[in-house]
C-alpha cells in the first residue's frame, strides 16, 4: 500500500492498451476471460484512471458503457436489482428506488461529491476495494448479494458481501447487485469519514427486532461487520438496556486500523458511541 515509485503519477504516463468495447454481457465476459490477470474493466473509470496514471499497465481494457445489461435498475416485489455499471447519480435520482428502498438513494446522494456520483458506478465503488469507499458497508448491512463472474472458474456466483470480502482478490467481473426488500430502518454516521464511518440496519417484525447489523468503515482492509446477538428483542426492552446491548455488540467488531488518522483505540471507543446513538435513533423513531 505504501508505494512510492519515484515517478510522478500522471495521465501522460498511461501505457498503451487494447480497448475492447463489448455490447453484451456475454461478450464482456469473454473478453475478460481471455486474459483475466492482464485485463482491466472500465465502468466509470475513476479508480482505473488513477491506477493507470500510477503505472498500472494492463494489456487490455474492457469498456462496459455499451453493455445494456449492466445499466438497469429493476424494482421487483421481493428485491432490487442494480446493474454494476449504474452510476451513483442514477441511483440517487431513481424514482422507483426512492419509493421502494429510500435509504439507498438517500445514502448514495451523500457519497463522495457530485463529480464522483456522476461518473462513478455502484459496481466500481465495490470493486475498487478502497477502505474508505461507502457502498460495501451499506450493501453488507442490507444483506445484498453480488452477481459476479469469477475466474479462473469462469462461472457466475452470487456472493454475499462477507463472502466477497473473504475471497482473495482474484480477477472477477461484477454484473449486478441484488438487494432484498425487507422491513428495515437504516441510519448512518459519516461525521468522521474517511477515518471512521458507521452504517446500521435494523430489521423489524412489528415492534420486535428480527436482526440488526452494523458496518464500520475505516479499517485498511475494508468494512467490518457485527450483528446484534439477541433477536426477538422488543423496542422498549432494547431501549431499556441500550448501553449493555451496544457495549457487547461493539466489542465484537475487530479492531479498526485506519491507514492514516485516528488510533485504533479512538476508533474502538468512538465507534461504540456512534453505534449507540445510531441504534437509539432507530429505536425512538416512529
Amino acid at each position: 500500500m505504501l508505494e512510492f515509485s519515484g515517478i510522478a503519477a500522471t495521465r501522460r504516463r498511461i501505457a498503451p492498451f487494447q480497448l475492447c468495447r463489448p455490447d453484451s454481457l456475454r461478450q464482456a465476459c469473454e473478453s475478460f476471460a481471455e486474459a483475466p490477470g492482464d485485463t482491466a474493466v472500465l465502468a466509470g473509470g475513476i479508480d482505473l484512471a488513477n491506477r493507470l496514471k500510477a503505472g498500472y499497465a494492463p494489456r487490455r481494457i474492457v469498456a462496459l458503457n455499451a453493455v445494456k445489461e449492466l445499466q438497469d435498475i429493476r424494482v421487483l416485489d421481493d428485491r432490487i436489482e442494480i446493474g454494476a455499471a449504474v452510476s451513483h447519480w442514477q441511483v440517487e435520482n431513481h424514482e422507483g428506488l426512492k419509493g421502494s428502498l429510500p435509504c439507498l438513494p438517500a445514502y448514495v446522494s451523500g457519497l463522495g461529491n457530485i463529480r464522483v456520483r456522476v461518473q462513478g458506478t455502484i459496481g466500481g465503488n465495490i470493486m475498487a476495494a478502497e477502505p474508505a469507499y461507502e457502498m460495501l458497508p451499506l450493501l453488507g448491512v442490507l444483506g445484498a448479494k453480488l452477481n459476479i463472474f469469477i475466474m479462473p472458474e469462469r462461472r457466475w456466483s452470487m456472493l454475499s458481501i462477507p463472502e466477497f470480502m473473504g475471497r482473495s482478490p482474484a480477477a472477477s467481473l461484477l454484473a449486478s447487485i441484488t438487494i432484498p426488500r425487507r422491513c428495515c430502518d437504516v441510519v448512518w454516521d459519516r461525521q468522521l469519514r474517511p477515518s471512521l464511518g458507521l452504517v446500521l440496519s435494523v430489521e423489524w417484525c412489528g415492534d420486535v427486532i428480527q436482526s440488526a447489523i452494523a458496518a464500520l468503515t475505516g479499517d485498511r482492509s475494508g468494512p467490518v461487520f457485527a450483528s446484534l446477538e439477541t433477536s426477538g428483542l422488543g423496542r422498549a426492552d432494547a431501549l431499556a438496556s441500550l448501553s449493555g446491548i451496544v457495549s457487547e455488540w461493539a466489542s465484537r467488531f475487530p479492531s479498526i486500523r485506519p491507514v492514516n488518522g485516528p488510533s485504533a483505540d479512538y476508533c474502538r471507543e468512538v465507534s461504540g458511541v456512534m453505534l449507540r446513538r445510531a441504534f437509539h435513533r432507530i429505536l425512538i423513531a416512529e
Binding site: 495521465r11 498503451p16 492498451f17 473509470g45 484512471a49 435520482n93 463529480r115 456522476v118
Partner: protein, 158 residues
C-alpha cells in the same frame, strides 16, 4: 504506438471526427488536440475538479475521463459558455461582479460545475455541489455569495 479510436463528438456545439489514441484523456483532447486551453488540469487525480467540463450537461472530471468515453456525447467547456454575441453566461457574470477570481486556476472548473447546477431542474443536495471543487484562494465565501440566487432556488426546487 497506442491504438487509435475514431472519436465523434460535439464540443461547444461543434462536431468533431478525429482519430485519437485510446490512452488520451478528455482533458488533453480538449487542451492539446482542440487547443481549448481554458480547461485546467491541476491535481490530475480527480480530487480538485479544476478540470470539470460538462458532458451532456453533467459535471465531469475530464482528467479521469478517456476521450473515447465521450463518444457521441455533447461536451461543453468554459469556452463554450460565451454566446455567439460574446455575452457571458449569467454564472460568469455573477462571479465577476462578486469579485470571485483570485489566482483563477480553479475558476473554469468551478464555473462549469455551477453552470451544471443551474441546468438541473431539481437536483437533490444542490447546495452541496460546491464541495466537489477545491479553491485554495477564496475560502469559498465570495463564490457562495455570487451563486446564492441559484443555490437558494435549487433548494426551493425551482
Amino acid at each position: 504506438m497506442s491504438d487509435l479510436f475514431p472519436l465523434t463528438l460535439t464540443v461547444n456545439g461543434q462536431q468533431h471526427q478525429i482519430d485519437v489514441p485510446v490512452t488520451l484523456m478528455l482533458s488533453d483532447f480538449l487542451r492539446d488536440t482542440l487547443a481549448l486551453r481554458g480547461t485546467k488540469v491541476a491535481c490530475d487525480q480527480g480530487a480538485c475538479g479544476a478540470c470539470t467540463v460538462l458532458i451532456d450537461d453533467l459535471p465531469t472530471t475530464s482528467c479521469l475521463t478517456f476521450a473515447f468515453a465521450a463518444e457521441g456525447c455533447n461536451v461543453t467547456t468554459i469556452e463554450g459558455l460565451t454566446a455567439a454575441d460574446a455575452a457571458w453566461d449569467a454564472v460568469q457574470q455573477a462571479l465577476h461582479e462578486a469579485g470571485a477570481p483570485q489566482c483563477g486556476f480553479c475558476m473554469p472548473g468551478l464555473v462549469m460545475l455551477t453552470k451544471a447546477l443551474t441546468l438541473q431542474s431539481d437536483p437533490p443536495g444542490a447546495a452541496g455541489w460546491l464541495t466537489a471543487n477545491i479553491c485554495r484562494c477564496t475560502g469559498y465565501e465570495v463564490i457562495r455569495r455570487a451563486l446564492a440566487p441559484w443555490i437558494t432556488r435549487k433548494e426551493a426546487g425551482q
